[in-house]
């Protein structure tokens, strides 16, 4: 009977005493850090087998391409009379989420995984920011497009910005203020007294700008800011294309601006509108964009005639930044989706590449042409439409359920797809997708380069 000894490569040095304590003969001790992810082609000579199976996980990132898992090899050993011992329950068997070491091949990450290609991200930032670097109009990155302080810092460092960021909720603003941003434009209304108090507290540390659409809110903000001893920058939100918040252009906006000017603790900063992402091309995109933005520019003129100084005029987005950026009187563009991009923008914004994908695993192929993956609405998001699958020619997303993604595959393409293989989805809306994840896997040259947390995820308040 072959004798198997605990091999030094199978365990961490600090665990030596545990092996001795077990005191078992003919036993191979596998620790959790080498068991679940190591795979290796079997070689049936028992003793050399054990030596040959020695790599630590960190030295062995080629997980998917190998054919047999370590534990399979050891079942052969078992049949030859070698017993296996496993870590006791005190040993941490796993961590959740399952993190992998830097340098792990992308395909070996646990699925579904939000993966971001660093070169694509850098390329998108360069494309967008180079447009603004040579212009007086500035870019204000909207952090909802990625949720990552790391990416927001890259955006500010790339130049062409106003030096600050845009956020969508107060909670998100608090997270980004705590991660190093000192100029934050919260493009939302803050009306509850407890939230106004939080806003004033933030304004003590960073330059805070907020939108309003009612005189009552102006008065509440004014009172609270005086009491807190801070100055809030306040913009009038103008309702244009969307059926949402905001006052009508023209006179109502002027009246509200005058109310802001009349408050001691408030600084009237200008005008904003969110015209919504216009999914159009060519002349239609130009005329649609100009139609709504012009209403804000006309209002600006009205305010200036009344003697008000409009420092900030914030419009546009990824969908029309180059059109809005050329209009006289626009001072900043709020854009977020361009950094990582998504399927919804793909055909309209070909200058950007899809830098974020959800990597999924094929879990069932119940019949020809029908592929089921482990990424559904909870991992990809599906509120705005189906994701794309650009890396699978002949494939079409049939639909997402909560936990599964269904793909119709044209059988005339020979994909050689089998269970366990990876399929990459491009989310339909990147904002909606990052709202579902706590971290992103950053990939450089096909390997894990970093894990970036998304600390503002779920901060709706």
């Amino acid at each position: 009977m072959p004798e198997a000894k605990p091999h030094s490569h199978f365990r961490c040095q600090k665990k030596n005493k545990d092996v001795a304590k077990l005191g078992m003969k003919n036993t191979v001790v596998l620790f959790a850090d080498s068991v679940p992810t190591c795979t290796h082609r079997a070689n049936l000579s028992c003793h050399t087998q054990i030596s040959g199976l020695a790599p630590k996980r960190s030295q062995h990132p080629h997980l998917v391409d190998s054919t047999l898992p370590v534990c399979y090899c050891f079942s052969r050993l078992l049949k030859e009379g070698v017993s296996l011992a496993f870590p006791t329950h005190e040993e941490p068997l796993m961590e959740r989420p399952i993190f992998k070491p830097i340098g792990t091949a992308e395909e070996a990450l646990d699925t579904p995984a939000l993966v971001v290609d660093l070169s694509g991200l850098n390329q998108n930032i360069e494309t967008m920011h180079s447009f603004f670097r040579s212009r007086s109009v500035g870019l204000r990155p909207h952090v909802s497009g990625h949720g990552s302080p790391a990416i927001a810092h890259m955006q500010i460092a790339a130049g062409g910005t106003v030096g600050g960021i845009m956020t969508a909720t107060l909670g998100q603003s608090e997270v980004f203020a705590a991660t190093g941003f000192d100029d934050i434009f919260l493009a939302n209304l803050v009306t509850a007294p407890s939230k106004i108090a939080r806003l004033c507290s933030l304004a003590r540390r960073v330059n805070m700008t907020v939108a309003v659409d009612s005189a009552a809110n102006v008065s509440d903000l004014g009172e609270a800011s005086v009491e807190a001893g801070v100055t809030l920058n306040v913009l009038v939100e103008i309702n244009t294309r969307r059926d949402g918040m905001g006052v009508a252009p023209g006179r109502p906006a002027l009246e509200l601006a005058n109310a802001i000017v009349g408050e001691e603790g408030l600084h009237f900063a200008g005008l904003m509108t969110y015209e919504g992402s216009i999914r159009a091309e060519g002349d239609e995109l130009v005329s649609e964009s100009k139609k709504w933005i012009q209403q804000v520019l006309d209002t600006r003129e009205k305010l200036e005639k009344a003697g008000l100084d409009v420092e900030i005029l914030s419009v546009g987005g990824t969908h029309n930044y180059e059109i809005a950026g050329e209009m006289d009187g626009v001072t900043e563009i709020a854009a977020g989706s361009y950094a990582l991009m998504d399927e919804g923008y793909r055909t309209y914004r070909p200058q950007f590449v899809n830098a974020a994908k959800i990597m999924s695993c094929v879990t069932s192929m119940p019949e020809a042409g029908n592929v089921i993956t482990d990424a559904g609405r909870k991992a990809i998001g599906g509120d705005t439409g189906n994701p794309g699958i650009p890396t699978l020619p002949g494939g079409e997303v049939r639909g997402l359920s909560a936990e599964h993604g269904g793909i119709d595959l044209d059988p005339s393409f020979d994909h050689g797809l089998s269970l366990g293989d990876r399929v990459w989805f491009v989310p339909n809306s990147i904002e909606g997708c990052v709202n579902l994840h706590d971290y992103m896997h950053v990939i450089r040259n096909g390997k894990l380069d970093a894990i970036w947390e998304l600390p503002a995820r779920g901060r709706y308040r």
Partner: protein, 364 residues
């Protein structure tokens, strides 16, 4: 991640919004209905945790009764959360195929009875190899496609072949058959029963074919909230995978015995035009299938949902003013729950307990 943990005793109207409320009376009522429904039946409840994402709520149903003593989880990582929280009987009515994941499931099998569904011979072989090496047993059930067009065997013959393989291999323990139905399009109560029976029968046919080969079929895990009552009328079904019943969704409006227990509370932040109110809970907090009505306000309809705002409309005068709180009734609630980190447990108009939602985001 959010960390909202209001002090017990805080009045509902004083809560920060948006927040996810759980009416404790309602959820306890729902758990009791299940305990009563399945008290004397052969079939028992196996609660689906994709709808709750909380071991606390899962254990509450197990303690209240009517269950098989365990749960089903949509994914392996959700199973890890449930085992960590104290649940010891898990069925994953889904496929676990990647070898890294199978190894993780084997690690989990040292602490809980792990069962998984299969529809592929190679998958059964992989499960056997790895579980055998780990010295554990993984229970396998054959997934039967009834009408979803998703995973699952398409014929009795396929089911028999996989069952035979599972019976012959070490490391795996053949347990039975499983199917899922989603009867979204049912037309009335009679139709719901008819279609429910027909679809479950497809699963029972596979069971019968396997038994005809002399292989015992211990589990028939079939049905879900849509067939929560239908399944009790079909001999042979051993358990029902109900999920939505616990907290409620309007998709399941026929379930008169159950109460709506989960709501997202928001506050009106703007009334920009006549008949329009903008609330501070949007698409991100609710999901696109998240809400279609406002509690106590049948005259209000849900208009456009922006990422962080909801547009509420009323034909007549809008009864909600800026600062007013409102409660949104979810439609398809499990997508909504997956976007929250805490349940704010409410009784008699005040906070009683706050529970984390550790299964949030566990899609792996």
């Amino acid at each position: 991640m959010d960390y909202y943990r209001p002090v017990p005793g805080t009045q509902v109207e004083d809560l920060e919004t948006p927040c996810l409320l759980v009416d404790l009376d309602a959820v306890e009522h729902n758990f009791r209905v299940v305990a009563d429904t399945y008290r004397d039946t052969e079939v028992k409840m196996r609660q689906h945790t994709k709808n709750i994402k909380s071991p606390r709520l899962a254990l509450m149903q197990i303690e209240t009764g009517g269950t098989v003593g365990g749960v089903c989880t949509a994914k392996l990582s959700e199973a890890e959360v449930m085992v960590e929280g104290g649940v010891t009987d898990i069925l994953i009515p889904n496929q676990v195929v990647h070898k890294d994941k199978i190894a993780r499931m084997c690690a989990l099998a040292r602490r809980a009875d792990m069962k998984v569904c299969v529809d592929n011979m190679q998958n059964v072989q992989d499960l056997s190899d790895i579980a055998d090496a780990y010295g554990v047993k993984i229970g396998v059930l054959i997934e039967v496609d009834t009408q979803m067009g998703r995973a699952g065997v398409r014929s009795n013959e396929q089911g028999v072949a996989i069952a035979k393989l599972a019976e012959s291999l070490p490391g795996v323990d053949f347990r039975g058959v499983m199917s899922h139905q989603s009867l979204m399009e049912y037309k009335g109560e009679e139709d719901r029963y008819d279609v429910g029976r027909q679809t479950i029968q497809i699963c029972l046919d596979v069971k019968n074919a396997i038994e005809a080969e002399g292989i015992a079929v211990g589990m028939v895990s079939s049905g879900e909230t849509f067939t929560i009552d239908v399944a009790t009328t079909i001999p042979g079904v051993t358990e029902v995978e109900g999920g939505t019943y616990a907290l409620g969704g309007t998709t399941y409006d026929y379930m008169k015995d159950y109460r709506m227990a989960n709501k997202v509370m928001g506050t009106v932040i703007s009334t920009p035009r006549s008949g329009v109110a903008i609330g501070d809970a949007g698409l991100f907090a609710l999901s696109g299938l998240g809400a279609d009505s406002v509690e106590d306000h049948p005259e209000i309809t849900v208009g456009e949902m922006l990422d962080h705002q909801i547009v509420l409309k009323s034909d007549g005068e809008m009864p909600l003013k800026v600062g007013d709180k409102f409660k949104l009734i979810p439609d398809y609630q499990d997508m909504m729950i997956n976007r929250w980190d805490q349940y704010i447990g409410i009784r008699d108009g005040a906070v009683e307990q706050v529970w984390d939602i550790p299964g949030r985001g566990c899609t792996q």
